[in-house]
């Protein structure tokens, strides 16, 4: 290693923080597009409910992701560490959201030829 060590860990945190922000913003846009596809002819009330739920979920993921990067250099034995999802739960959640959106889109593609 080049010996930079802890000195540049803060920059890595900022890069990761920004990566979470731009990724979850793109995720929000695409999930709304897919929701529009899936809702199709549903009533406006259902549409508003689904869109609100989906938006809140993605925003929660965004907040958790951005918060998570602040605890990268904190020891996992510190009490406040346990309040942050610094493990595989959030990666799984965000990957599952994307895979689900792709499934809904595939279903939407098939609906359109029905």
């Amino acid at each position: 290693m080049n010996g930079a060590g802890p000195a540049d860990a803060g920059l890595q945190e900022e890069r990761t923080h920004l990566a979470w922000r731009r990724t979850t913003l793109a995720l929000l846009v695409m999930v709304l597009v897919v929701a529009r596809v899936a809702l199709g002819d549903a009533s406006p009330l259902t549409g508003v409910a689904v869109v609100s739920l989906v938006t809140l979920t993605v925003l929660a993921v965004m907040a958790a992701g951005m918060r998570r990067t602040r605890f990268a250099t904190v020891s996992s034995r510190e009490p406040r560490f346990s309040s942050v999802l610094r493990d595989g739960r959030l990666p799984f959640a965000v990957a599952a959201l994307v895979v689900m959106a792709c499934c809904v889109e595939a279903w939407g593609v098939l609906q359109r030829i029905a």
Binding site: V37, A95, V98, A106, L110
Partner: protein, 128 residues
């Protein structure tokens, strides 16, 4: 004395396959792994946008072809999403155990899908 069942005990980290052994890696590497996960997610979102565009825009393609495109691109998005998770798990486990990092196995699937979509597009343009 630390009490592992007390309210101040750290929650067990999930998944056990990653956190069951090894030591805490250099945070820079863990953060880099996280950024790789997010890059795969953004790739999946790009494919998803492609699938949505193919069906939303009126390209002069027969229905079969545009449906195939939509499904292939959605599949590529799924592959990227799955790779994001699997890659993160395997890399984090390798970082903790100081082993060699794995290569992205589902990247091959994504490349094949892109080739298929490209070839179909060429054929459709040449014949249309």
């Amino acid at each position: 004395m630390p009490d592992p069942t007390g309210s101040n005990a750290p929650r067990r980290r999930w998944p056990a396959l990653v956190y069951g052994g090894g030591d805490e890696p250099d945070p820079r590497f863990s953060l880099a792994n996280e950024r790789t996960l997010l890059a795969w997610i953004r790739t999946a979102l790009a494919f998803l946008a492609g699938a949505a565009a193919v069906t939303a825009l009126d390209l002069d393609l027969p229905t079969v072809v545009s449906t195939a495109f939509g499904l292939l691109l959605a599949a590529a998005g799924m592959a990227c999403g799955i790779q994001a998770w699997l890659g993160w798990c395997r890399a984090e486990a390798a970082l903790r155990r100081r082993q060699a990092l794995p290569s992205p196995t589902l990247g091959v699937v994504v490349s094949v899908i892109v080739l298929l979509v490209g070839a179909t597009l060429v054929v459709a343009v040449v014949r249309g």
